[in-house]
């Protein structure tokens, strides 16, 4: 089936697409037919920046199990790093003298 359902969030960071690195503005997540993966349905994630055109996209198509594993891995990686280390709040403080 085509679900048509799309979760879309604003994100901050960078991605590397077919033409190199670019700044990301949004991510979309949807369960639907893949373009390439050998399954009828997958969890599809697009990291995009529409301001740079439709080809500014990093795409993945994951099985349900591995998508959930990815979510857990993100949580584990963040939990094992100092709290807030990758937060925008830290970045916005700028370089810390003596750090």
């Amino acid at each position: 089936m085509c679900t048509y359902l799309t979760e879309k969030i604003a994100i901050e960071g960078s991605g590397k697409g077919a033409d190199g690195w670019f700044g990301l503005s949004h991510a979309t997540v949807y369960v639907d037919h893949p373009q390439h993966a050998r399954y009828e349905h997958t969890v599809n994630i697009d990291f995009i920046n529409p301001g740079h055109g439709p080809s500014a996209r990093v795409a993945v198509e994951l099985t349900e199990e591995t998508a959930l594993d990815l979510v857990d891995a993100i949580h584990r990686a963040l939990a094992s790093a100092p709290p807030g280390l990758a937060s925008t709040a830290v970045r916005d403080q700028g370089p810390q003298i003596g750090s």
């Binding site: 679900t3 048509y4 359902l5 639907d32 996209r57």
Partner: protein, 248 residues
């Protein structure tokens, strides 16, 4: 030159609001007159598999045209990038779809040897679009291949553009061929039965075939959902249906 020689390639046509949009045209080289078929691409886009369908209709004697519904949103992008961009932007508005199909039909009627008869066909989201176009425009034959959300309310969160359109049934302008999979949930056999009952109630000409052992997208030769028996029989029925309704 044999009768199955065709010419195919990308052209520009006037779509909704006279927008200049890309489209893929295939025409037989044999003499006409001949009908035209508008092929409405599926949600994954204006892709190689859809263009192959366009050429197949030309081999069977029709001028066939597929408008790129994502032409405005993602000009020149690869089909998958264009589909992702349109999806992120909320999808194709129904009104624009109708305008693009009307533009494609007008173009087909303007090519040499056109007999003035127009068929529409679509798969998946294109199946819903084919029904929508046939209820909104003067069409001569329509084929809905497993179009979802014609009957049933979509799940919460669906883009505003995707509303059930069974209420348009009284306006259906032509015979309808529906090809569905018994194992499909979108649309389910229960939903297509509801649509059939409504078509009966409105006195509309239609024929539905629901294939056992087939689910959604059983025509898609490049996907695991492909079911050869259903697809081969379905193609035969499509060609017969258009031959009945699009001949001069």
């Amino acid at each position: 030159m044999t009768d199955d020689t065709i010419k195919a390639g990308t052209i520009r046509i006037a779509g909704h609001h006279d927008d200049d949009i890309e489209a893929y045209l295939a025409t037989p080289m044999a003499a006409g007159p001949r009908g035209g078929v508008v092929v409405i691409h599926h949600m994954p886009g204006y892709d190689a598999a859809t263009k192959e369908m366009v050429r197949t209709f030309a081999v069977h004697g029709y001028a066939a045209l597929c408008p790129n519904l994502y032409s405005r949103d993602a000009p020149g992008a690869s089909p998958d990038d264009a589909a992702a961009a349109v999806r992120a932007a909320g999808g194709v508005p129904d009104e624009r779809l109708i305008g693009d199909v009307a533009g494609a039909a007008a173009h087909l009627n303007s090519v040499p040897a056109a007999n003035g008869k127009i068929g529409v066909i679509g798969h998946c989201s294109g199946g819903r679009h084919a029904f929508l176009a046939a209820c909104s425009l003067r069409i001569d034959a329509a084929v809905d291949c497993y179009g979802a959300f014609v009957v049933k309310d979509p799940p919460a969160g669906m883009p505003a553009a995707m509303k059930p359109i069974i209420g348009l049934t009284p306006d259906l302008s032509c015979p309808l061929l529906g090809l569905f999979g018994a194992d499909d949930s979108y649309p389910s056999p229960e939903e297509t039965a509801v649509l059939g009952a409504e078509l009966d109630r409105r006195g509309k000409e239609y024929e539905f075939h629901t294939y056992e052992g087939a689910g959604h997208a059983f025509f898609a030769v490049n996907r695991p959902s492909y079911r050869p028996e259903a697809a081969v029989d379905g193609w035969k029925r499509i060609i017969e249906f258009f031959a009945r309704h699009l001949s001069s």
